[in-house]
Symmetry: C2
Subunit: 123 residues, 2 copies
DNA sequence: CCGCATCCCTGAGGATACTG
DNA sequence: CAGTATCCTCAGGGATGCGG
């Protein structure tokens, strides 16, 4: 048993803070989840809509990520028994709590892009 | 050339919104970046500190992700020429703009965990 | 239109060992 | 202490095709 210097600087509230980040990333990690949420932030969407909006995503990934989001209670899946079947995805009220986060992430990306472009032209 | 119904519902500002998310995820994606930023949010940290705080990360991933963050101008790396060498990582002023995002992500994770636990015990 | 099944493959990422 | 190098794996994820 060595006399470790651990814990000297890792108070409990820090751990909670970090665990919070971890938990969120566990749920919203992956390559597309934020994008999907971002799309649904704009209103309910159909499968095709999503595939078109989330540029680059494949059918397999899309349905997989949608399932995971549904499991976590973030989106609802509604099947409309129309001619060719129709499915609508929508954020749950609970998922609305994610909107501020998604909006900020988007805003940061936008301003970051501007900053990068500015730096390139300046040089 | 088919008469596609695309674009009917994909106005430019939506695309910008989504591209913003994309850009941010490109930079902060990956398994650990948010956690690392979260740690550095608490102040400057040494390599070992980070490895200890970001539970589960390996030496290789840590240094790789740190390099990427440094490339994007989000952290600074300072070498102290001490007995056994010492290196400190710190958020750049620019990276401070990420703090609200990280904080919200953390807060959401914390409240989500509480919600899940509540639902489990309730049942 | 929705989305599962299948095949396949790249690369993220883990474990271990080694250097300055 | 702070990494780098090497090897290896396994799952994320792309492409295609089929069925309800």
């Amino acid at each position: 048993m060595k006399n470790r210097t651990i814990d000297e600087k890792v108070p409990v509230d820090c751990k909670v803070h970090l665990r919070g980040i971890n938990d969120t990333i566990d749920i919203l990690g992956g390559k597309w989840k934020f994008m999907i949420i971002g799309c649904l932030t704009l209103g309910k969407k159909r499968y095709m809509d999503l595939q078109r909006m989330v540029e680059g995503i494949g059918s397999k990934m899309l349905s997989k990520e949608l399932q995971e989001l549904e499991l976590n209670g973030l989106i609802t899946r509604t099947v409309m028994v129309t001619k060719p079947i129709t499915v609508e995805y929508e954020l749950t009220p609970y998922a609305q709590t994610l909107k501020p986060i998604v909006d900020q992430i988007s805003a940061w990306g936008i301003q970051h892009r501007e900053k990068v472009i500015k730096e390139m032209t300046k040089k």
